[in-house]
Amino acid sequence: MTEPAAPTAPSRRRFLTYLIAAPTLAVATAQAPAEAAVADIVDLGDILILAGAPTAHMLVLTVGEDGGVTFRLPREEVGQGLTTAVAMLVAEELDMPLGQVRVQLEDARPELMFSQFTGSSNSIRSLYDPVRQTAAAARSRLVRAAARQWGLGAGALTTRDGAVHAPDGRTAPYASLAVAAAARDLGALTATPKPESAHRLVGTPASRIDARAMVTGKQQYTLDLDIPGAKPCMVRRPPTVGGTVKSVRNEAAVRAMPGVLGTFAIPTGVAVVAETFGQALDAKNALDVVWGPGTVDGLSDDDVRARLRDAAAPLVELPPLTAHLDAEFDFAFVSHAPMETNSAVADVTPDRATIWSGLKAPIIAQQSIAEELGLPVDKVTVHVVQAGGSFGRRLFFDAALEAAQVSKAAGRPVRLMWSRIDDMRHGRMRPATHHRLRATYALGRVLSFEHRVAAVETDFRHGLGEILTATAARLPGSVGNATFAQTLFHTTVKSPYGFGLTTQHLTEVPLRMPTASWRSVYSANTRGAEEIVVDELAERLGQDPVAFRRASLKSSAQRAVLDRAAREGDWGRPMPAGHAQGIGFHEEYKSRTACLVEIDATDPRRPRVTKAVIVADVGRAVNPRGLEAQLLGGLTDAISTTLRAGLHLDKGLPLEGSYSQFHYARQRDVPTDVRVFVMPASGEPGGAGELGVPAAVGAIANAYARATGTRPRRFPVNFDVDFTPFPR
């Protein structure tokens, strides 16, 4: 790569490099394999990479005079391990210790357009080349600066351990070159990232760069920041989702409560600002508010299910006597429920605003908040703060917008936090879905595979993270969000099997509910349901589930992953009564995975996955240890949502209000034996953050079915209202 843009003027203390290049991405459309789905040819990640390409190289890397390197990452870290993986890429190219690379989360930079969006398991795919090229260019400058100092040719110099080395033994640590390397007259530089065969750090397991901060309590989340004068704030929310404030009956009494500094009506509820969160919570609970109607008042689970069944497209009529298998599935609403509830700090004055929050799409947050406050975008600073989980939730900026509204009204900075109950009930959720599947078969082969999905609308009004695409997504009717949904569905959902004529179809029911993409978006349910049908087809055809999959998969790379899982998991070993194995497979984000679980369902009401073996081929794992963590997380998500965790919608509001009611797995629900195997590198990095969920959903459901002799059709399988809901 050539370096077309000069670095910005160096300060005395550091050197900066901005690199703007024009990368190209070739999307292979020729020679599409037989039975290729849209997502086999171009997937969502390709589209996001193409959209982001013009600005993907506008990255900032600073070599400090302390010898450390700081990389400003235009993405969000929510636990997926991205900062560590990116630090590894930087350290690799610069031949320096990982511990000397710092990664800062970049503020919202609207000029980055589509290149500041964390989603679709696309960060490593989209950053792998630009980050390496940026770091390689920095290395090239450091080498050139040393060459000039020593009067040697740059070609003779090497880099090692954070220093430039000359053949005669002279050494210049990067710290000593930081200013000289920023000189404008170093000449035309070419910088090519290392060949992957030379990688010494990338591809080896590394621990998180923030692990020590996390185990000592020093890791700062939004509400751990000390913003001078920022006071705790909580919001009383309506008794049904989307409800509005009509009036407050006891405003004066609440304002007189201990520690209360003010109450403020905002579009989503009534905010209380107080000296402590304890007092804000008491005051919020004491508020007596007259509410306007919500957006889905009166709607409950049964109504939603009926609407979804009505909406699902009909299956193709079959000729008489065609051998076929039909199955229908329902999946409940699911809370994202990150441990850190929605939160934000805002400091709004008449002529500017500063926001701190965990944001995966900070540009659209900045633009929307500027619009809301009536300020120019460049007067709104949005700091992206590392977050306590997301699972899709932090694509939206609900708390940041509210904090801005309250700060403006209160005339002071506020630290706004959602209560857990509100986070679960009014926070966003994965939409409920209904699935109608039909496969036809003859002579031991599947001839066609149809899947009709009906889903409550998933809100994609964050667009690709900025105002143009968000505005497009906000268009009414059958364009806008619905178009986004169709594109997303068809560029992510595909069958890995050669099942003859395969069609997958999505119909969305546009209920106005607080929804958002949830880890793996459509795939957890859609591909999970398909994996269950694959097992049932194998049974119809008298074949073993692994052998049937093996014969039906499309590629040798897929079969290698399946085979490894079957071998490592000892597929087919005898199991006691009430126990069983189950297998699932999934391919997406240019990656593929197989999951083999064992379940103890001797008590079908409290089954436990006792063992899991997961194999993943992600093309090239930057940090296998981080990848294993993501697969472990995906497994736990699948255990939870398949067996016990969901939301019951009741007259316009989820009943669940805490982890005592939304049964996300705990220690007693998870396997005591988990083994994860990462396949050797074979190409470019694929996506991994969401990869683990769909195969594990299939594996767990299939194991449960085999252990209990049932055919589970509704998920989660054990989903009673086994609690007394909190008051509305």
Partner: protein
């Protein structure tokens, strides 16, 4: 406003707050000790788990008035200066944390467990009810076993 005197991580502190203010907010909002996290406020998620006189408690449901004269230890007080507690070391070894938000509570729960029993069984580990929404449970189990071995 009542005054409450107690010890946090070896330091004597004074908090002027209503008797029923949960200790969590005395720590976080009055004293600026932000290691213990809010996750539910009702002793369900256990993200705020800390120690009161060496026993695991959830400060979100402990009224500040009840800790008068007692010793509170939060995650910040677990290490001996730069020297980490063996449980923290084990957490690093197993690279347990993902988002990290629940981990202070997980670690404090694990320390309390290992105080009660040197070699916890699977059944003992199953009793830990702290939620980890990233699903790191298996690594938590491995880390506690490793810490138990370190602590002999």
């Amino acid at each position: 406003m009542p005054t409450h005197r107690f010890t946090v991580n070896g330091q004597a502190v004074t908090v002027d707050a209503p008797d029923d203010l949960p200790l969590l907010w005395a720590l976080r909002d009055h004293l600026g000790i932000r290691g213990p996290k809010y996750g539910c406020g009702i002793d369900v998620c256990k993200a705020c788990t800390s120690h009161l006189d060496g026993e695991a408690v959830r400060p979100c449901v402990v009224p500040v008035s009840t800790v008068e004269g007692r010793e509170v230890t939060t995650i910040e007080g677990l290490a001996d200066g730069e020297r980490l507690h063996p449980v923290q070391e084990a957490w690093l070894e197993q690279d347990v944390a993902q988002c990290g938000y629940c981990q202070p509570g997980q670690i404090m729960a694990a320390v309390a467990l290992l105080k009660r029993t040197k070699n916890p069984t699977d059944a003992d580990l199953d009793e830990i009810a702290n939620v980890c929404r990233c699903g790191t449970y298996f690594r938590i189990r491995e880390a506690i076993r490793s810490a138990a071995a370190r602590m002999g």
